[in-house]
Symmetry: C2
Subunit: 338 residues, 2 copies
């Protein structure tokens, strides 16, 4: 089997990897229908996160179960399934509290840019669709594995409520799906921060009512201006840099909430500044598993079409071009089909 | 009039200060029944916060209204009143959202360790008691000006709920009143972190069910042990140091909440560590004004006696000894009577 392996900055290769097989009785093997490149894959790809050895890549996946270990009960061969980027037992106290991505048995999924994948803790990680989906629905189902679930968590963590004003920092796939999530939760006004025309258009399609093209001080001033000097009730931080985090904190009203889902890189928060901002901060790796059943239902019924974030579809063996296109911001998100 | 003035590290003097008078039509002048030394006064007193010029001290107060400006409507001379350490108009959008300590017209109270005090924005800042209180009730009413309101906010911000497990970092007056607040909100288990016997005793009296005497890694491990490895649902951070903040973050379960009310000094939060902790963070200067009516009611009806945190009562002219006793941790909190 061939799959994606990252060797170092801007050096991702499609090459022979070991065939996955069942190792533990709780494993499942799935034949991947579609996978993709994540914004978070770009951190190591750009050399902003060390790559110490050749690293198999990919953590977003959906497909058909090929085989299961002897202890697996909730999914069976032939079913179409989607799983979180974090495998979880879904029974420990953290899972039961809805934080499956902090499961005490958590395993990060790391090898999904491939035609076949081993999923540990299958019962607690995978959710089956009602039937085998149409080919058209697969991109939207795939987003539930990470980006849509992450945008949704950003909106949940930012306490988005009907009629409220929401600002979204970041116009990557997660930010755009954060806009869609806020819209679904009834936000009255959704301000998307984007300087990229194609992304602005999709943000509007997903429900953005205002676009702010400025960043930093000017961007914050613009949001204050749009909210009569008050600030947004909820801010979704979907980038993970010092600049984006500070933008989120400064754009939020006192008592307002920030949902931050961009994996922070080099972010340091000054305690006193945070204190006097009076904001609420919640975030982390999205507990996608918590939201999977409801989000599958929304996609299945045609109520949402998050798969629109894929503006580039490539055969899996062109994964290298997928990374390049996203790195150069030519593509919002690249879908890879084995 | 004589009042407290801080000149530099450990140099607080009781000396002649200007008599307060009404400057704006929204001002009130109150004759102080009692004031006190705050844990936050110790930061500059200990030289951990710069003192650039002789600085009048004190921000906790209650007493009888002596006079009001022409625009004041809600309080009148002769009434006994309590006000927040942050004066607020109580009408701006931040006030209406319950964040009066971020009022757009906010003024920090700074001169309360004195016999007479000018309170700006009197209508939005002061709340009158039903009648003139007994002398015995005054210490408890005084705590509502800051420490009790701050402990209460810590519990609100940490989302304390009936039956849940709460940990309190800090055994100063705010931490102890955080214990009392958590108890009133129905917490099932309240773990107080304290190494000081007298404070442990008061913590137990206020509702603590467990005492942890360790700090740092061992303290966190102890809380994990007491919560079956899960962590506390809610943690009240009532100190404001890097150590106390990290202790709070590490003692909280994923998805749990931290209410932090200790003014952070030198605290830097690593974005990635916070992200993977999965905690909720909310805090800041307590919007005491929001809670004043309810807390006055609880004191008035004898349901709470937060004044127990005062274990030293001094005439105002011995304010210097009040600072010394608190600095040396001989006293939890010093009450000053003009």
């Amino acid at each position: 089997m061939k799959g994606a392996v990252l060797y170092g900055p801007r050096d991702v290769r499609f090459e022979e990897r070991e065939d996955p097989k069942i190792i533990k009785p709780t494993d499942a093997i799935i034949k991947i229908a579609a996978t993709c490149v994540c914004g978070s894959d770009l951190w190591p790809y750009r050399g902003l996160q060390p790559v110490n050895e050749p690293t198999p890549m990919g953590h977003e996946y959906c497909g058909i179960v090929e085989g299961v270990g002897s202890a697996v009960r909730s999914v069976k061969p032939g079913q179409f399934v989607i799983g979180s980027f974090a495998a979880s037992d879904n029974t420990c106290p953290h899972c039961r509290a809805g934080y499956q991505s902090s499961c005490i048995d958590r395993e990060w999924m790391l090898r999904a840019q491939a035609p076949v994948l081993r999923v540990p803790l299958a019962d607690g990680t995978l959710v089956a669709t009602p039937e085998t989906p149409s080919k058209e629905m697969i991109p939207s189902l795939l987003t539930l594995s990470d980006v849509m679930g992450t945008g949704w968590f950003a909106a949940v963590a930012a306490d988005v409520k009907p009629g409220k004003t929401v600002a979204v920092v970041g116009d990557g796939a997660v930010g755009l799906l954060g806009v869609l999530s806020a819209k679904l939760m009834g936000a009255g006004r959704i301000i998307a921060m984007s300087r990229h025309e194609k992304r602005q258009k999709l943000a509007r399609e997903f429900g953005a009512t205002d676009i702010v093209t400025d960043r930093g001080d000017v961007g914050v001033a613009r949001i204050k201006e749009l909210t009569k000097g008050i600030g947004a009730d909820s801010v979704l931080e979907c980038v993970g840099t010092q600049e984006s985090m500070m933008q989120a904190i400064r754009a939020t009203r006192p008592g307002g909430s920030i949902g931050y889902v961009g994996v922070p890189h080099g972010v340091q928060l000054d305690g006193q500044q945070l204190f006097f901002s009076h904001v609420r901060l919640h975030g982390g790796p999205a507990p996608v598993r918590r939201f999977l059943p409801d989000l599958i239902d929304l996609v299945w019924k045609g109520k949402i079409n998050p798969g629109k974030v894929f503006d580039l579809t490539l055969p899996l063996d062109q994964v290298t071009e997928g990374y390049r296109a996203m790195d150069e911001r030519r593509a919002i998100k690249a879908l890879l089909v084995p």
